[in-house]
Subunit: 338 residues, 2 copies
């Protein structure tokens, strides 16, 4: 399976790293031969139909930050979508940053790959949150696979879990904590009694919150994931604008303290059902599956027969997110075989 | 798919109930036609190759407690293993009570079905804990399917979860709370400050602990599940006698209070890895995925790439456990098709 990777930031580098670590295992266990034939960052690209060396890719990126410096096969004239016409590949791994205004460049990259009859695996949320149905329809039209486990919850395998482990039950709704940064901030405010502002600053210093944390703290990131789960797991036709969103910026340490006294925590909760598409702070009971700390993500599936079933996992991290991408790549080959 | 059900207690009745509820859904979604052709309890049986009526089965059992009273098709001369030679079926659903000394009658029933080239789905732990490898080998020898999701954690889909959702990662160990009764007792002792003895009595009154609670409180039930997960998920060849077991009967309210002061709970934890096969009380951190209350079960898979991934679900309940059996039945047909 020849991989073309566009986007060579933390997640993209994670993908190359685990392909390096796991390619023998994947060959032995699933009979899939993984080969990275093209990589693009915002500066340019590296292309070799025989396969690029994973360790060298990581080394060049870490030392020069420009992948076109890859010896012999680097190219500073080709980048992003142009790469797709200049490399012969089977699966596009699309790991560019999420853009919630336009869904680009993920949308154009993905549609181009579909049009060329290539499978696509993505960690991007933008095009899914804005154009979920269009993306899925185009994949079907072109008879290609389109997978996006990494776009929700990093290494928490919520989409595969929902689709593969509970065939006897119907999933009626999903309630989850889908953003690790806000969960970290609220957990710290609870354990330390500190203010929102101070805790946000601390989170930035620790590298957990970004310099511009608005996507996380305003609930935008969790809302994108809500759209993806609503469509893909519950079959609810919705887009980003359909989600009612309230972030955590108005949560005070007093509110957290009051809740705590009564045996509750305040968490940023996504509620996903036919009647409700909402991201907002809510009280959750102590010692319930919702009472997870730190940057963890969780989601509870409310089912008709199996009752509540919950999955918890690391919502971020380059290796963890990349592991979800590799799972999707393996599942594409398995699906095709079936 | 013609089902022969042996064992018509809470779980067996749950199976018949959800077949009644879900057979149309299963037909539409998976193209599997479910038909119960034989049912046995300890008194006798009911057999009809055209299919028994699910509601009537439940009604007769609830009113007379003897399934041989089923009109026209009841038979008080056939019971248990004898039934298997007198009904034409595709899949044995084996839901007799667990016997941890001999593994019977589950073992003989299952081997007989294998020998007759029939698939088997079970909720029983005894034969698996005592003879795991023998059972699996015989299933393979006879080229039949053998599934047992319901035997561990009821509606917590830990086996399917481990096998289906994380193909890119290797599961290195499992740490879990695999017994709901003891988790309920320890949770109540923690929230109420009550003694072990009083809380056990309360649990009996509530119907959560059995009249003879030794299998649960001495850790035997959790140890059986440990054997099943060790073999089926981690490939560790072990039997019941290999598990180090300590129950919760010596846990005092003082010990729980001390732990609580330091931010910990005491839970009955199963640890499953190549180096350790152990069920014993352990301290777990507040607000971690281990800090679940009530009769819930949970298991954390420690993986090389995805980090810790946790699944939580209802560990008991007749409908919940039956839902795991129906999942196995559906997966058998799916496996055969692939």
């Amino acid at each position: 399976m020849r991989i073309c990777l566009i986007g060579f930031g933390a997640v993209g580098q994670g993908v190359v790293k685990i392909i390096s670590l796991k390619k023998k295992h994947v060959k032995n266990k699933f009979n899939i031969e993984l080969k990275v034939v093209g990589v693009s960052d915002s500066s340019g690209s590296a292309i070799n139909q025989e396969g690029l060396d994973e360790e060298l890719l990581l080394d060049i990126k870490s030392k020069t930050n420009k992948i076109y410096n890859y010896p012999k096969y680097g190219d500073n004239s080709l980048q992003g979508i142009e790469l797709l016409d200049n490399v012969d590949y089977d699966c596009l791994v699309e790991a560019t940053p999420t853009n919630i205004s336009t869904g680009e460049p993920a949308k154009s990259l993905t549609l181009k790959a579909f049009n060329d009859k290539k499978d696509v695996v993505t960690s991007n949320k933008g095009h899914l949150a804005l154009f979920f149905n269009e993306m899925i329809s185009k994949a079907k039209e072109n008879n290609v696979e389109f997978k996006f486990e990494a776009s929700v919850g990093g290494a928490m395998p919520i989409i595969n879990f929902s689709k593969k482990t509970l065939p006897s039950s119907e999933i009626e709704s999903i309630i989850g904590i889908l953003n690790g940064t806000t969960n970290f901030i609220l957990s710290r405010m609870t354990s330390e009694g500190s203010s929102y502002k101070d805790t946000l600053e601390e989170s930035k210093v620790l590298g957990i919150a970004e310099t511009d944390p608005s996507q996380d703290v305003e609930g935008i990131d969790a809302a994108c994931k809500t759209v993806i789960l609503a469509n893909s797991v519950l079959g609810i036709d919705c887009v980003y604008d359909d989600i009612e969103i309230e972030g955590i910026t108005n949560i005070t340490s007093q509110a957290i303290e009051l809740a705590k006294k009564e045996g509750y925590f305040i968490k940023l909760i996504a509620e996903i059902s036919k009647d409700k598409l909402k991201v907002a702070p809510r009280l959750v009971k102590k010692n319930s599956p919702y009472a997870i700390e730190g940057t963890l993500n969780m989601a509870t599936l409310k089912t008709d027969l199996a009752g509540d079933v919950t999955v918890v996992g690391k919502g971020a991290g380059s290796i963890e997110t990349a592991s979800a991408i590799l799972t999707d790549i393996i599942n594409i080959k398995k699906t095709i075989r079936e």
